[in-house]
């Protein structure tokens, strides 16, 4: 199936009434979640995952993806109106978005954010449509050593970019590898790390870990912060949400910059929307004729990061769908969802599950239009969500967490684990251990161990087999370089600055 016929097939799937409905539900939920500080897209996808078990895989992944990119659209609202980012990827939007709002241009800032999100989101999906097939074709030649090397490279990038301390990132990753080892060894049926509990023979449910670390950990952090902010007024009426011609003209390069930067950074495991938004903002400021305006309400300072934030989605789905390698927490949960539905992300996904692959890609074109409609005229309505008292919101999140963790297995034991992982998530955030490497280690650990052991079986224990094949040798060398370059002071200072600014 070539790209054009694949995309046509995808639209036939995505335009089925039920899938349009799930796309709308996902975008709506994503927008709501994006607006609410204290609950991120990864946590929401994890929380709602059990509800999709009975759904058709195409509908389920369309809805989860809608939450993923919808949250990015919604995240700008709180940045602009409250100076509080709804998501970490909207941190940089606060800088100029809130200043625009203080000058009475809140409507224009929200409008620019929505338009930039639409343009860059669409560019990101076009990039995904065009890049994914050749990447998948290239990956068909991969065998166990290449997969092992690819996972090492992906995890090294995630560790490099997810926190200020490389050591803590690596320790979080190793913790994830250990957690995924708990249970029965697939090769020999040896029980590992089960502490005498037969319930652990089947391993720890991914959702218990994801909901505990993300949702419970995040809510505990928010309860600790306990601050309520004062919201700036939201202009009503579509006319007041549209930027003027001068502002749009000022943003024309920012739309392009955000789209390209966001997509390219998104393709890198660990890159993520937060980093891409900062890079796009930095580029915009560097090439601007009036950089002194940045930080004081420059429209380009909203357009570039918001564009990058949304173009990143298309990029992040390239490694997930074509190689089976998630680039962050949200995509790691989507990978688990696909596996639970019996769909195997990787180079064969396009041919084995064309409904899911092309249906998802096509639904993102539709989702971007849905989000533009939702986010321009309905922003004042969504902003009312911010008036929901936290003492109502937080117990509800705990309740949904219980439903999510218990619904999958029906075991109280899993709720006990949820309590433990909630504390772990909170402790990690307090001690500045990044959570993304833990989740990715947990998701990829099994496949990584399998690929390593298969490689060594094929080579009868000869470790050099991992570097004899050129692709795996290059990827392993890159992984080593990535983990060693922070030893160079100037690079580490640059890296720490980028990661620290990410908040």
């Amino acid at each position: 199936m070539d790209i054009a016929s694949g995309l046509l097939h995808g639209f036939a799937v995505a335009l089925q009434p039920s899938n349009v409905f799930w796309c709308f539900v996902g975008c709506l939920l994503g927008t709501v979640v994006g607006i609410m500080p204290g609950l991120g897209p990864a946590a929401t996808i994890a929380l709602l995952l059990p509800l999709t078990f009975k759904m058709d895989p195409a509908g389920g992944i369309i809805m989860l993806a809608g939450i993923y990119y919808g949250a990015k659209y919604g995240g700008s609202t709180t940045s602009i109106l409250l100076n509080i980012p709804g998501e970490s990827s909207s941190v940089v939007t606060c800088i100029d978005g809130y200043q625009m709002a203080r000058k009475g241009r809140a409507g224009a800032a929200l409008g620019i954010a929505a338009i930039a999100s639409f343009i860059a989101g669409s560019v990101g999906v076009i990039g995904l449509t065009l890049i994914a097939p050749p990447v998948a074709a290239f990956a068909l030649s991969f065998s166990s050593p290449e997969y092992f090397a690819l996972m090492c490279l992906g995890l090294a990038l995630v560790v490099l970019l997810s926190g200020t301390s490389l050591i803590k990132g690596l320790l979080a990753l190793l913790l994830g590898l250990w957690l995924t080892s708990i249970g029965t060894d697939l090769f020999t049926a040896q029980a590992r790390f089960i502490f005498g509990q037969a319930t652990l023979l089947g391993g720890i449910d991914f959702m218990v870990v994801a909901i505990g670390v993300f949702a419970i950990g995040e809510v505990m952090g928010s309860i600790e912060a306990g601050e309520e902010a004062r919201m700036l007024p939201v202009p009503r009426g579509i006319r007041n949400l549209l930027p003027n011609w001068e502002e749009l003209r000022a943003c024309r390069f920012a739309f392009l910059n955000g789209s390209v930067t966001g997509f390219l950074v998104g393709c890198l495991p660990g890159g993520g929307a937060t980093i891409s938004s900062f890079i796009a903002y930095g580029i915009e400021k560097a090439v601007s004729k009036h950089p002194e305006q940045f930080g004081k309400g420059a429209p380009e300072g909203v357009a570039a990061p918001e564009g990058a934030n949304n173009a990143d989605t298309g990029g992040a789905l390239v490694p997930l769908l074509t190689l089976g390698i998630p680039s962050g927490g949200s995509t790691a949960i989507m990978l688990s969802a696909l596996v639970l539905w019996g769909v195997k992300p990787g180079p064969l996904m396009m041919t084995e599950s064309p409904d899911v692959f092309w249906g998802l890609v096509a639904s993102m074109y539709i989702g971007n239009v849905v989000l533009l409609i939702l986010n321009l005229p309905l922003v004042p309505l969504f902003a009312q969500i911010l008036r929901l008292p936290l003492y109502v919101l937080f117990p509800v999140i705990f309740g949904i967490s219980i439903v999510g963790a218990y619904g999958a297995s029906g075991r109280i034991f899993d709720l006990g684990l949820l309590v433990g992982f909630g504390l772990l998530g909170y402790a990690m955030s307090k001690l500045k251990y990044p959570s993304a490497p833990l989740i990715l280690g947990f998701v990829l650990g099994d496949a990584m161990e399998r690929a390593l052991r298969q490689s060594l079986m094929m080579s009868q224990g000869d470790l050099s087999a991992l570097v004899r094949r050129p692709i795996s040798a290059i990827m392993l060398a890159l992984a080593v370089v990535i983990l060693l370059i922070p030893l160079f002071g100037w690079f580490n200072r640059l890296r720490v600055r980028a990661v620290t600014e990410n908040g």
Partner: protein, 152 residues
């Protein structure tokens, strides 16, 4: 010995102990079999890496410690840990009292104690949210939740 109060030192020590446990456990399993690497192969190496990195974290942290510790807002942290403790108790209670009652009590605690709202308001929020969960999940969506002696 101010460095012993350092979070990095404590977490490093905990992770080092976990790494030692992983290595010790893996020694009980086959490291290499006739077919290839055994179940101990992978855990052994990430356990070793965990011990090494944890010790590196402790050494780095102790070396960089200047004796002054960051200010901790114990009151704020108490709110978070109090919430967690209430959550743990409500989960423990769930197998005896069921979801509805445990969750209502948990919500009451959050609203009345953590957010210091009036008891009447806490009661209304607790009952309303627990009932809403019951009606949405077990009743409308047939999603099972822990049940108590009263069947809910």
């Amino acid at each position: 010995m101010a460095f012993l109060k350092n979070g990095d030192v404590i977490s490093g020590a905990v992770l080092a102990a976990l790494g030692v446990y992983i290595v010790m456990q893996s020694r009980a399993w086959d490291y290499y079999t006739l077919d290839g690497p055994g179940p101990a192969f992978f855990p052994f190496w990430y356990g070793v890496a965990m011990v090494a990195l944890s010790l590196l974290l402790i050494v780095n942290s102790a070396r960089n410690s200047n004796g002054s510790s960051a200010t901790i807002d114990w009151r704020a942290m108490g709110r978070a840990l109090g919430t967690w403790l209430a959550f743990a108790v409500s989960v423990a209670l769930m197998q005896f009292a069921g979801f509805l009652i445990s969750f209502a009590l948990f919500t009451f605690f959050i609203v009345a104690v953590i957010f210091r709202r009036p008891l009447a308001m806490a009661g209304v929020v607790a009952v309303a949210s627990a009932l809403a969960f019951h009606l949405i999940f077990p009743v409308a969506l047939s999603v099972s939740l822990p049940t108590g002696p009263f069947g809910f």
